[in-house]
Amino acid sequence: MAKQEEDRILRRWTPILLRSILVTAMVVLAAGLVMTYTFAPRYYVERYQAVQHGQMIGKEKFGLLLDRIRQGNPHAVLTVGLFILTLVPLARVAFCFILFIRERDYTYVVLTAYVLAGLIVGALAGAAG
């Protein structure tokens, strides 16, 4: 496929991808805040004051997070919203990576693979450290 076609696909689908994930994340975050205000306002104030003193909750296990969402825990809904937001760059780079493989544009396959690996290694290093 020609370079122009590659560019056309990127310019058409990248904005759709960015906007879809962004809107989804914002809806989940807004829902999480409404749930917090409705069901756990005191917990929110306590957490806010604890954070002001540098007391963080720390790492949250993904399995536990899913359980808490099933229980309708507002804090878990907010956490998921933030995770969805961080999917924006990952999804965008992954989309480019797949497109360049399809186009056999190997220079850019290597470059996007490096960026993708950097994002994943960063997350794994954060989880480990």
Binding site: K3, D7, L10, R11, R12, T14, P15, L18, R19, I21, L22, A25, M26, L29, A30, G32, L33, T36, Y37, P41, Y44, V45, R47, Y48, V51, Q52, G54, M56, I57, G58, K59, E60, H75, L78, T79, G81, L82, L85, T86, V88, P89, R92, V93, C96, T107, Y108, L111, T112, Y114, V115, G118, L119, V121, G122, A123, L124, A125, G126, A127, G129
Partner: protein, 275 residues
Amino acid sequence: MLEILIDLLALAVGAGFVGALSGLGGGVFIVPALVIFAHMPMKVAVGASLISVVATSAGASVAFVRDGWTNLKVAMVLECATVTGAVIGAYLAGVVPNVVLELLFAAMMLQSAYFTVTKRGDDILTKGDPLAERLELAGEVPDLSGNLVHYEVVKVPQGGALMVVAGLMSGMLGIGSGALKVMAMDYIMHLPLKVSSATSNFMIGVTAGAGALVFLARGDVATTIAAPVAIGVTAGALIGSRVLPRVRVESLRAAFVIILLLIAAEMGWRALSRI
């Protein structure tokens, strides 16, 4: 709770609005706003800011990519450098004392103020260097009369080196480092200014995303702060981008510089008073 939420949303909307009008992004303003007005520790502000920067970059990039202002290939090449810097920077933010982060933030504010004052016009090249040609980085941009003007790109390694620094600062300080990125593309690689700004905006999402993933995975993002801040900064940036075409940004430039200098002074003073 409602009072806290309204305060956070107001700070975030204001930061996103001024960030969009100044072209420096919301991160530059939300970090000091959270530290100074909400009394948050620097690392909490950085974590919340990184998340919000991902959101504003995605929102602002949509139109720039669709309308052809963003040079996608330049972005993909330089993202290799910014992601490397951002992951290292986000790691360092976990071990470097808050005082050092605040001093670095003050220094970055001075750089942003300098950039705002010295923004220069386009210097379009018709011949690129071999590496840029091999990577097919050249592009086209419409001039004032709507005709497409071809531009070439040079000095990719030098631009990339500055991008590592931009990524490092982004991961450590929770900002998009847009001023450094635009400087690298405009001053060193000779991309047209509007292409540099649009491409920088597009890249900021990946740079901040790399840092945000490290912070989130490490458990260093305060959900109660980051969630309203992300919504507020995105809303503020959206309002700012709508207002932008109707205001004379040139006349606001002095105000932006004064705000940046005040932030630099306040953050620098806070850090130095604790040494």
